[in-house]
Subunit: 329 residues, 2 copies
């Protein structure tokens, strides 16, 4: 079996994946801050997710994959600039592997999630996961394989400018997609004390607030721009919306497809690409990044197979119930 | 041996490619207009390029590839909307194959050129050819293989808008890269009776004409935008500039890399991508589209091999001199 870890700013989502790519168990543990604590909490997640099997990590697990935010050198298993984790530079693969006695692969969390979503949603052909979180980035899966680009720079669509003279982006450019389509963009464009400012924004827009409608349209146009860029470069058949804003669910999808349909009304060329039908939402309960992390670095593990999700156990820091075993389809 | 045809609006560029991917001969014949005449001139090109061998087409040639502008259904060997050729719909593979007795593959000319450039320039890893002609489109080669996208829509970067409220594009959208980085864009932005308006524009800019400098900068920024999009989506290591505007050669490359360097001064993130060093020009004498056309549909023909160019014969409508045979490197 294989373990996949999705190391987020507040928690680590861990899955134990059988060789037929069904999920045997899933746990969540809190993430510590700083390199030492990150490695320690990853180690705890590994032990916890294996606990339900009754075996030891080394006897049960063939490999571990970790998805983590930041700039990942997949070849060396290092991560740099994982700001939310207080990590500047961490040899995660070596350090975790030394503690648990199993080979460890490391991948950027959005790239891992794209591979996970591809299998969890039973996608075929080519697809991208467009993550609308604090930042905006895409993971691209071409014919079933994660496309990283030579330096891991593939999918950095959040830093394509779409608004000349727009807001300054964290990258130094102005008017990037990220300045309009991210959680931070919503926080800037719709200042709010609500727990979920995006939900408040959409509620206000639905209630007829003109300013809210304008902001919602702006955000939806930026998301649609990201989808158009992905379609007109790699021509992915599916774009899965993920990240914080995707928790809006079908409300976000409708706003975005409305923009794409309006664009198609003005351009027969765009209309011929059927962009609205390519958009899907990532259901928030799916362990996309964790499952994808378990699969990275294993080129042929996923050929012709599907992954099925297991629910998270009630006590999310303990081993969860196993999912029913499904034969690979 | 294999034949590659680059079917352009005025001429067909034909190469005869040895199995080691060296060019045995190269000819050019005028292109007829309309479906019947296009097929007839393609047939003539096939016979002419084989003439130097003394053998018959069927005895010498294993397959033929044709690169042609327009929307290509590669699987069915059909082309639609090849406007410059007065072709609305043509079953080119079937019709040409029936006349010459050899299997025919068809591919969009820009996509074919990207594959040809990849080999003629001895590129490695991943690359795009950004064609700056009447329109703007890219061909994308990932790890040595042409990436078409499921519907052949990959590389349509010319139709990514970069100027909100800009000029109307042929696609119906406004401010697309194509409205600023194409030969038609130069003709609109710098009206001129010169044979090469782009050369006149660059000459005027070099001579200090302020309006010319502004137009040149606008064009260079649009080309640079296309390069940035390709880098931030597929992360290609090389972008080869081709098409009419590329005849400006190093003058165009310098204008474009200047823009990319200025952007890098404002964005450490962009600077870290080393975009200026990724830009190359396609030397105009290379038969990129014809060589690439000979290679499409032959997945393993190009593994670890290089192609060498042959000069075009003096009488471009007759079989040209053969190039020296080079062992595959």
């Amino acid at each position: 079996m294989r373990i996949g870890l999705d190391i987020g700013g507040t928690k680590i989502d861990a899955v134990l994946l059988r060789d037929d790519l069904t999920i045997a168990s899933r746990v969540r543990v809190p993430t510590g801050k700083g390199p030492r604590a990150v490695v320690a909490s990853a180690e705890r997640a590994v032990h916890d997710v294996v606990a339900s099997t009754g075996g030891s990590v080394a006897s049960v697990v063939a490999s571990i994959g970790a998805g983590i935010p930041g700039m990942v050198d997949a070849e060396r298993g290092r991560v740099r600039h994982a700001v939310n984790l207080d990590v500047t530079d961490l040899a995660l693969a070596d350090e975790l592997s030394a503690r648990v006695g199993v080979p460890v692969h490391v991948e950027n969390d959005v790239k891992a999630a794209s591979l996970g979503a591809y299998h969890l949603l039973s996608l075929t052909g080519s697809a991208a996961l467009l993550n609308l979180g604090t930042g905006v980035a895409a993971g691209i899966v071409l014919d079933g394989r994660l496309w990283r680009g030579p330096g891991g720079g593939a999918g950095e669509v959040g830093h394509i400018p779409i608004e000349p003279g727009g807001a300054i982006c964290g990258c130094g450019q102005r008017g990037c997609i990220e300045t309009l389509a991210s959680g931070s963009a919503v926080a800037r464009l719709w200042p709010s004390h609500a727990e979920h400012p995006a939900v408040e924004l959409f509620d206000a827009a639905d209630a007829g607030d003109e300013r809210a409608r304008t902001v919602r349209r702006t955000v939806a146009q930026a998301v649609a721009s990201g989808i158009r860029v992905l379609a007109l470069t790699v021509d992915v058949e599916t774009v899965v919306l993920a990240g914080g804003l995707s928790h809006l669910g079908d409300r976000l999808r409708r706003s975005v497809t409305e923009v794409l349909e309006d664009w198609g009304d003005e351009s027969a060329f765009l209309a011929s690409l059927s962009l609205p039908s390519r958009v899907r939402m990532l259901p928030p309960e799916l362990a996309a990044a964790a499952v994808g992390a378990a699969l990275v670095g294993i080129p042929d593990a996923t050929e012709g197979r599907q992954v099925r999700a297991a629910p998270v156990g009630d006590d999310a820091t303990r081993a969860s119930v196993g999912a029913p075993v499904d034969a690979p389809r």
